[in-house]
């Protein structure tokens, strides 16, 4: 019997780096820290308005496709029309657009102009007859079965968790010990189970090594993500990226702290070559500081623009394919991109607010499922880190002398900021930083005998 590993509510996508530098008011965009930096990462897009929800789920399953399976508790019965297979590129684009970013500036010649002062950005399957009989004897009802894209999907309801657990085990799903009570809890809350595995024949027709995201649409007041099943017997913490696409404003959890990541901080220049490791260390540090009990806000932005843009904002067509159903058909129907880098209040207004949340969770610190609420907060926020290249000129003037004097202090402050954000040793940072950019002015006699 094929044994399938259950990835309950765990999902992932990878991203190609976008080439080139994009100029923006808030600095030159240099690099981003996207989801592929994190192992065991899942991505979920929740497009929600008026209790209508479209859930797009993507995971980073890297094993044999025949061993893949997901079991997801859903608030309502899901019919064939409510299931769709999405294009993974959509999630990649969303990830790239909202990822934490690194920007850089170059100091101007202090002798020529006043020091440039950065103006902060706006705070901003098929089942045989026999199997059906077996299911019935276990108290499990196969409410529906569909083959959608490369997936065989079953919608199950059950009277008792023990029957459901037995059915899943007998059908080759590797249910970890301890899952019974969790299944029981969801059953008593009236939830159904969405079970998907890969139809290898369909997958072979499609080609490609990866699995496309599954989308389900339903209407329910429950604004939550069931994470408990995925935590049963999980080896270590898991990463989850939640992208909420809403109409009114920012989304936050109502049962865990939602913390904004430290942002708009100046860092030593060598971080340009290692923005990924920096961001991993920063996230780990933030998680520990919050006793591993919080979700982190990485991005909250009106989807009409961005500044700086780590990727272009998503087009109306892309947003619709990610489940944003409330866009009117006229606006931007040709899928054209909206104007990035500045607010656009015209006819093509998206009325979509993106919230990107990142959580590292385990059962010890996250006993409850994640419950969300949409707030009226439309303040833009991005996790953005800054590199400031020193001016390296040799001009002499009072301003240049003052500038050089403050430069060392600035570099020390950048080193300390990096140490405090990552927990790295300050001595190591100072060594790597060196005295880059500081030009010691020559004495008058040195110039004389040059």
């Amino acid at each position: 019997m094929i044994r399938k590993t259950i990835f309950a509510a765990t999902f992932f996508a990878s991203v190609g780096l976008l080439g080139g530098l994009a100029y923006s008011f808030c600095g030159f965009y240099v690099a981003k820290a996207d989801t592929k930096l994190f192992n065991r990462a899942s991505q979920v897009v929740i497009a929600r308005h008026d209790d209508k929800t479209v859930l797009t789920m993507s995971n980073d399953f890297k094993g044999e496709l025949k061993e893949f399976a997901v079991v997801i508790p859903t608030p309502t019965l899901i019919e064939r029309d409510q299931i769709h297979i999405a294009d993974r590129a959509l999630l990649d684009h969303l990830d790239a657009y909202s990822a934490p970013r690194l920007v850089e500036y170059y100091d101007e010649n202090p002798c020529m102009i006043r020091m440039f002062k950065m103006e902060a950005g706006p705070s901003v399957g098929a089942i045989e007859e026999k199997a059906l009989d077996k299911a019935k004897s276990l108290g499990v009802t196969i409410e529906a079965q569909y083959t959608v894209g490369e997936y065989d999907i079953l919608i199950l309801s059950a009277k008792q968790s023990s029957g459901l657990e037995s059915w899943l085990k007998e059908n080759g799903y590797r249910i970890p010990p301890g899952a019974g009570p969790v299944l029981e809890s969801y059953l008593k809350q009236g939830m159904k189970f969405f079970v998907a595995k890969v139809n290898l024949a369909e997958q072979a027709k499609l080609g490609g090594a990866y699995l496309r995201p599954i989308q389900i649409a339903y209407e329910s007041p429950k604004f939550m993500l069931p994470i408990r099943l995925g935590m049963v017997n999980a080896e270590g913490p898991q990463e989850l990226f939640v992208y909420a696409l809403t109409r009114k404003g920012r989304v936050e959890t109502t049962n865990y702290r939602t913390v904004k990541l430290a942002t708009d901080l100046e860092l030593p220049l060598y971080i340009k070559e290692g923005f990924g490791p920096f961001y991993q260390a920063l996230f780990a540090q933030h998680t520990e500081k919050e006793n591993r009990e919080a979700l982190f806000l990485e991005y909250a932005w009106d989807m009409r623009w961005c500044d700086p843009c780590a990727a272009d904002p998503l087009s109306a067509d892309e947003l619709r394919r990610l489940g944003v159903f409330w866009l009117d058909g006229e606006a931007d129907s040709n899928g054209s991109r909206l104007i990035p880098q500045r607010p656009f209040r015209g006819a093509g207004a998206q009325e979509v607010f993106l919230t990107r949340l990142h959580v590292r969770y385990d059962s010890a610190h996250f006993p409850e499922d994640l419950v969300f609420q949409e707030t009226a907060d439309r303040q833009n926020f991005q996790s953005r880190y800054i590199l400031r290249h020193p001016w390296k000129g040799t001009d002499e003037c009072a301003e240049a002398a003052a500038y050089r004097k403050t430069l060392r202090d600035r570099q020390e402050k950048e080193a300390q900021t990096l140490a405090s954000l990552t927990g790295w040793k300050i001595e190591d940072i100072r060594n790597k930083t060196g005295l880059d950019g500081i030009v010691i002015p020559k004495k008058w006699y040195q110039k004389l005998w040059e």
Binding site: P181, E184, S185, K188, Q189, S220, P221, K222, F223, M224, K248, G249, E252, T253, T254, N255, Y256, R257, T258, V259, K260, E290, N291, E293, A294, P367, E368, Q373, T375, A376, D377, R378, Q379
Partner: protein, 279 residues
Amino acid sequence: MDQPKIDPRLYQITILSGLLIYGISRLDFDIDAGRAALILSITLLTQFLCGAGYNLPKVDPKSALISALSLCLLLRANATAPVIAAAVITIFSKFVLRYNGKHLFNPTNFGIVFMMLCGANIWVSPAQWGAAATFAFLMACFGGLVVNRASRSDVTYAFLGCYLVIVFGRAFWLGQPTAIPLHMLQNGGFLLFTFFMISDPKTTPDSRAGRILFACGVALGAGFVQLVLYRPNGLLWSLAFFSMTTPLIDRLLPGVKYSWRSAGSISELSTPIKQRRMI
């Protein structure tokens, strides 16, 4: 009635102020010092103006200050206008929405619920407190009960007891580990509600039996909103709803009306206190 020697509101003001400063400086509450100052100013100013308008001999700012601090801790908005409106409505409700010499709603509760009903762009962030702050706050709350020997803490105990039965009972029925109900209770907003809002002696029923009935109703209502309707802010909605039943409870289960000890407070608006049978 067993009245404390020191006005318990002074203790409450101290605790709420400390919590607000900690929340702004360490917990990154979505409110800055300027916004907090604005809420405090508008609330006190409205209290003063309403006091003058209603010819109160002396305006006591303590109750208004508690309302203002509670607003600072709970109310969130991007724009300034809804915050000002909420502050004014909060105080106004004390003067306007009265029944038999008592104000009908807890002012902060009414201010926030009214704004939510109007569809104003405000929100309440219930989970932004963190475990350490919540635990410290819990200790301070219980400390307050002991220090002040608050005569109307029965409503807090009754609510707490009933809510615990709902939350733990649900977890038991669902077969959930106790970590889940315990986590649901580790919430600063829940504590603020339990010890400062529902316990407001000016809005709770006069008799002990009435207060216990009221507290159980609020707990059941909050559980219904959160666990059956799956909507946020169940506590606030439930309190606002059951506050409207207080006149009926007072009629069915009469008792002695509460009066803060300090003179010149809003209680002076009351009709003369009728001595009623204690239940």
